[in-house]
Structure formats: C-alpha cells, structure tokens
C-alpha cells in the first residue's frame, strides 16, 4: 500500500470534511433553533457561489470584496426564505415543512439555471497557488486554504454561540422555546437569525467548495452529503456535526480515490444506514422521550 498516497488522499478528505463540518454546523443551527430540516442548504450554497461568480467574474470585483458580498447575499437569502416560506408553516407537521424546503431547493435550481445557464462554470481563482506540503504530503492549495478559511469561521461561530448575547438566545430557544419566549427572548427573531447564520456558514462553504470543484446547477446535490453528516452526527449536536463532517468528508474522498467516484455516495450512505439502525438519533443526537 502506498502510504504517501493514502496520506495525501486522507488529508484532502479531512480538509473537505472541515468544509462539510462548517455546512453541517449551519444545518444544525437551523435545526436546533427551529426544528426544520433544511433540504435546501445545498442550493443556498450554490446560490452564494453563483453570486460570487457574478461579482468576481461578471462585475470583475476583487475576489476579497466579492466573497463577503456573496456570503452576505446567501445569508439574506436564508433570512428571506425563513420569513416568506418557513414562518407560515409554523406548527405544521415536519413532513410539510421539509417539503417546503425541497420546493425552495427546486425554485433555487431553476432560478440559477435561468440566470446563469445550465453549463458548468469555473470560479475565478482567488486563493494562493503555491503548493502546500505537510511533511512529504502534497495538498492542493485551494483545498488547504479553503479549509483554513472555513475553520476560521467555524471557530468564530463556536465562540459566538458560547459567549455572545445572540448565541445565548439561540441556545435558550433551542432548549426550550416556550421558556425562552417567556423570558423575553424574541423567538421569531431568533428563528430568523438562525436561518441567517446557518445560511452564512453554508454560503461561505459553498464558495470555497465551488472554488475547488467548479459550479453547476447540480451543485446543490452536495446537500445530500451534508444530510448524511448531520444524521450520522445527530441532528441537534454541534459536536456531532464537526466530528461526522470531518469523518464523512474523509470517507467520501478515500472511497472515491480507491473504489471510484461511483462509490462515494454508497459508501457514506452505508455508514448512514448502519448509524440509523444502531443509533437512530445519530452519534451525539438527543433521544427524545416519547409521551402518550
């Protein structure tokens, strides 16, 4: 066995996993606060990446201006989706709400295709190009720097939720909506904020992932990988999202490299199936006590 190759692949996989962790974090924030499983997260990522393409490519802005603008655009999109389409569904069955997000995903795919066309596109390069070596192992620079930016935001998020006022409100709402409401927390605002924050994380990850692998209206399918991550980690667990994100990213890359691209999805979904059977609420998710 070629250990160097394995190491390089693993490294690339772990870096990809870091981005999965970031997206999963966005997913979990939304789920924890609002109990909505957001099937449109991949499409929100895609939308932000296309915005970046428009700003940096079409309008020829500096990528370092375009990136925050695109991420901002993605976050606003998240907030708008919550306000216009998710809020009216408050109190409806989870199935219906999930279907709304699926509908949103479909709308976004159509919009993107309508505006930017169906052909795959490459994002303008904006990350440093010097190859990165860790020991002897080579790591593609866009993956390495993408990982670093993603990790920076991730740490920022964790600090924010731990210490800030908004973070506390979010956590309070997640643990008990009614109690949070009665303590004067504006639960509606928290819901909206959760969507904005969740979409922000997803948007940044979207641009970074698209920078390494290109962009097309099918890009949103990455949402399926993220779904696997959050189910394996546990829908309401931030720790689970981080660990499962890194693991699934690694597994997908390794399976893809050794078995072939067609094995990427079945490999991760096999893990998903096993987890569902032995730990239905994910590795770190909370098992809710059922009542009659």
């Amino acid at each position: 066995m070629d250990w160097l190759f394995f190491g390089e692949i693993s490294l690339a996989g772990l870096a990809m996993g870091g981005l999965y962790a970031l997206i999963a974090l966005g997913f979990v924030i939304i789920y924890k606060a609002t109990r909505v499983i957001n099937f449109a997260i991949g499409e929100i990522m895609m939308f932000a990446a296309y915005l970046f393409l428009a700003f940096a490519g079409g309008l020829e802005m500096s990528p370092w201006v375009a990136l925050p603008l695109a991420v901002l655009g993605g976050s606003i999109l998240g907030g708008v989706i919550e306000k216009v389409m998710i809020r009216p569904m408050l109190g409806e069955s989870p199935i219906s709400v999930v279907m709304v997000t699926i509908g949103v995903a479909s709308i976004l795919v159509g919009l993107v295709e309508l505006i930017w066309g169906a052909d795959p596109q490459l994002l303008p390069r904006f990350l440093p190009r010097e190859p990165v070596f860790i020991g002897e192992m080579y790591l593609a620079p866009k993956i390495a720097y993408g990982f670093l930016i993603g990790a920076a935001l991730l740490i920022l998020y964790l600090l924010y939720f731990r210490f800030s006022r908004g973070g506390v409100a979010l956590r309070a709402t997640a643990s008990d909506q009614a109690a949070a409401y009665s303590m004067g927390i504006n639960v509606r605002r928290v819901f909206n904020l959760a969507w904005v924050f969740g979409s922000l994380a997803a948007s940044l990850a979207g641009v970074l992932v698209a920078a390494t692998g290109g962009l097309s209206p099918q890009f949103g399918a990455i949402g399926l990988s993220v779904l696997v991550v959050v189910i394996v980690g546990g829908l309401d667990s931030i720790l689970g999202a981080l660990i499962a994100g890194v693991f699934i990213g690694w597994l997908e890359t390794v399976a893809g490299a050794y078995l072939g691209g067609e094995y990427r999805m079945p490999a991760t979904f096999a893990v998903l199936a096993v987890i569902l059977v032995i730990r239905p609420y994910g590795l770190f998710g909370t098992h809710e006590i059922e009542r009659v």
Binding site: I37, I95, M99, G103, S106, V109, E113, L114, A273, V292
Partner: protein
Amino acid sequence: MRIGDAKQTYEADEAIWTSPTQKFWFALFLLALLVFPLMANAYLLYLGCLVGIAVISTTGLNILTGFTGLISLGQAGFMGVGGYTVAWFSLNTGLPFPVTLLLAGLLAAAVGILVGLPSLRVKGLYLAIATLAASVFLHFIFAEWESVTGGMGGLSLEPAHLFGVTFQSDFRMYFIIVPLAVLMVFAARNVFRTRIGRAFIAIRDRDISAEILGIDLLRYKLMSFALSSFYAGVAGGLFAYFYRVVTPESFPLSMSIFYLAAVIVGGMGNLLGGILGAAFMTLIPEILKLLTAALTPFYPNAPVFMSPMLEIIFGALIVGFLIFEPHGLAEIWHRIRRFFSLWPFRN
C-alpha cells in the same frame, strides 16, 4: 342537490357511491376513459398513458406518506425495481405481461419491506432519510450490477404481450395502463374501508396511542411499505413496457420528489387528491412545452428557459400548496362540489 339519501342497511351506508347521482357521474367518467383513445391523437394518448402510470405510483405513495404518515424519498427506487424486474423477465423468460407486472410489484414490495424494517426504531424525517439511503443504494445497484441490469446502458425490452397479442403501440398500452390504474385505485379505496386502512391512518395521527389500542406498529408500517412499493413496482413495470427501455437515469431522485409533490399538490391522505395531483403534475410540463412552442417564434430563446421554468414552477407549486392549500386539489374539488350540490339554492 343531494337530500333524502337515508339508508336502509349498513351495507348501503358504507358503499363507495352512496347516491345514484354519484353512480351516474362515475359511469360517465368510465365511459369517457373508454372512448378517449378512440378520439384522441397520438400525443393525447401518450399523455393519457403517462397520467395512468403516475396515478398508480402516486396512489401507492399516498398510501405510505399521505395515509400512514411515513415520508418516503424512495418511490423512484421502488419503481426502478419494478421496471428492471419487468425488463429482465421479459428479456430472459418471455413471460406475458400480467405475470411480469405481478412479479414487478411483488419484488418491489419485498424491497419495500426491507427498507421499512428500520421504521420501528427510526421515525419521521430520519425514516425519510433511510428511504433516501435506499434509493441511493438502488441506483448504485442499477448502475453497477451489469450482468443483470445492463449497467449505465440499461435494458431494452420487447413490447408487452399476452396470448399472442403484442402491445407495441401507445393505443394498446392505454388499455393495459388505464384499466389497471382504475382497478388499483379502487383496491386502495377498499383498503381504507377496512381495519387495515384505519390502522394506517391511526399510525399517522398518533402512533403511540394506536399501539396501545392494539395496532402492531411494525406489522402495519411494513404492510404500508409493502403495499406502497407494490404500487410503485407495477407503475415502474408499466413505465418499462411503455418506454421499452430502462436505465439507472430513468428513475432519478427527482422522480421521487415529483411523486411526493404530486401527493402534496393533490392532497395528502386523499385518494382522489392523489389522482388529481398525478394528472396535474404530469400535465404541467406538457402545458409548459406548448407554451414554449407558442412563444418560440417571438422569443427564439424560449426553449432554453423551459427546463429552469419547470423547476421553478414545481418548487412554487409545492411551496404554494403547502402554505395556502395544505389539503391540495382535493379540497378545491370538494369546494366546487359543495357549491354545486346546493346549486341553485345557495344561501
């Protein structure tokens, strides 16, 4: 106007059609279905067949998702099992279509039971994701098990046949698809007149109470999975006979979402809704095609926009119905009927 329909017996009270008016309209509808292929052109016939297949599959998914409350993203996968079963048997055995279709349904039901097995431990959306996993695996099997499925190229098959008659035209396929669709919708209707259908609904509404009231959850959830995927399998088998080719891309994930959308737009937990939803969702792309064709002389680019517009309309329909008309087309239909049932003596 419907008044004075008092019944003498419980049998009469529990009949599907409780008034002569209803029987009359239904007979008229059946007659229209019968006459339709004689009058329709090739394109309308093609649409009629498509709607028929969609009605069967939507009814199946409605049983599982609409009535039992188990959301499934695996419908396309189950249809694929049916499609490949029909293709394989017709290529390798030459069995007549009633047998291959039955086998398609049964095999799909078996796969459905397998997929449903986690449903006792895994609930709600976690179950939806388990069905998603199943559809990923099924797609993988369709693409990779080349000796049976023909790999990415898929399988081409001979037309359906029975007693020496081959059904190679849409006209003839219509007479397989539509009667089967009517039959299967009625069978589903019957299930919901008995204890099994009540058990399904009870599981949807309150699974824990249902269990305490004597309903074996696993047994009935699996039964619902089996029944639903049987319908999907038959629909997939008809799909195979209709297009005479099946490939892994014939049954994409978006097809599962299409059927979920049909159930929602039609009305979850309402068989009539399933029929309306299936027809509506099948016809929308066609209407859009007509519209595009009409627009092309003025906007040469129109065909480019058709596929994204379709995505947007699909999404908007799902979202719009869920927000504004959660009971779907069936509710709209009932409103219209209520209006006319008192007409012209409206208050």
